[in-house]
């Protein structure tokens, strides 16, 4: 089990913390923390395998939310290929991320910042990322960040919460170019 080999540093990982060090002996590159119903679940990733999670007990005394700025600062220390690797689990094709980076539709580090922040600060998880085009002109309209398991009313609150946080921390560009989407809320049953 990986959990027996994880560096002790990560056993005290706080919500919103990111770890980028001391993983080489395990041939891993990244660790991020997610909150899964009261449990901090660091997510470890390497270059070849699918992301996988272990669950650690959440230490209430160490609870704090990292600001978007702090996350962005950490991500700016990574090389672009590392940031793209961090987001690969959320796209069907790496081409999506390379397109975003190449066209500069959105700073890819800011996109990674948002995904990590949502996963670590809210009680929801990002399931995937996609580009939304206009079918008539073929132009990119926005990047959709799809969330798991949220309904219509929750979607309204999450959109407002995430966007007001982005704007308040000076990331209006991200707020305007990313749509938070609860796709489950759009599965409308016949009345």
């Amino acid at each position: 089990m990986l959990s027996t080999n994880v560096p002790s540093y990560y056993e005290s990982l706080n919500v919103g913390d990111m770890g980028f060090t001391n993983l080489e002996p395990f041939q891993l590159n990244y660790a991020t923390a997610q909150v899964l119903r009261g449990v901090v679940a660091p997510q470890y990733m390497d270059a070849v395998s699918e992301p996988f999670s272990i669950r650690l007990e959440f230490r209430e005394s160490s609870w704090h939310l990292q600001s978007l700025h702090q996350l962005y600062k950490s991500l700016k220390e990574l090389e672009m290929r590392e940031v793209i690797s961090l987001l690969e689990a959320y796209v069907e094709s790496k081409d999506v991320l390379e397109y975003i980076a190449r066209t500069e539709f959105l700073d890819i580090r800011k996109l990674a910042m948002l995904v990590v922040w949502i996963n670590s600060s809210l009680n929801v998880n990002v399931s995937s990322i996609g580009i939304v085009d206009d079918p008539e002109m073929g132009e990119t309209q926005f990047i959709a960040v799809y969330l798991n398991e949220c309904g219509w009313e929750e979607w309204k609150v999450l959109s407002k919460t995430i966007k007001s946080q982005l704007v308040s921390e000076g990331f209006s560009d991200v707020a305007g170019r990313v749509a938070i989407v609860c796709s489950q809320a759009l599965q409308i049953q016949r009345g």
């Binding site: 996609g130 926005f142 966007k163 305007g176 749509a179 796709s183 409308i188």
Partner: protein
């Protein structure tokens, strides 16, 4: 009638949305052509209203009178205000209503060469209720714009 340049409320779709709400509450079932045209009209009426309000505030678009704006700018403005649920919903259904003919269908919102997420969409009266609710959320914001 006031020219629209001096009266942005001329394009306020409040009356149109109320009219659609009344149609929805009627006893007559709406056929698919009507549902599709209503969904499309809702999206474009909000886009028109936003464009004119935007112009009135000093923004300029394309065309001889610089009064033609991009969908992307409309979406960006609403997304910044946290209306993601509303704009994504009316956009998805508008694309389905205008560009896809099967019902239910699967809408792919990307035209890039790689595969994008597919959304299951059914154009129905229940879906129209959701689109109208989303439209009202957008209109409430635009009236204060």
């Amino acid at each position: 009638m006031q020219p629209s340049i001096t009266d942005p409320e001329r394009l306020n779709p409040r009356g149109l949305l109320e009219h659609f709400n009344r149609i929805m509450k009627g006893k007559t079932a709406l056929n698919e052509v009507v549902l599709r045209r209503i969904i499309s009209a809702i999206y474009l009426s909000l886009f028109n209203y936003w464009s004119l309000k935007n112009y009135h505030k000093g923004a300029r678009g394309e065309g001889p009178l610089q009064d033609s704006f991009w969908y992307a700018s409309f979406h960006e403005d609403l997304l910044k205000r946290g209306l993601d649920h509303a704009i994504y919903t009316i956009y998805l259904y508008r694309v389905a209503a205008d560009h896809y003919v099967l019902n239910p269908t699967k809408v792919a919102l990307t035209s890039k060469p790689w595969k994008g997420k597919e959304m299951d969409v059914e154009i129905s009266e229940e879906a129209l209720k959701r689109v109208l609710e989303a439209a009202c959320d957008i209109l409430n914001m635009l009236e204060q714009y």
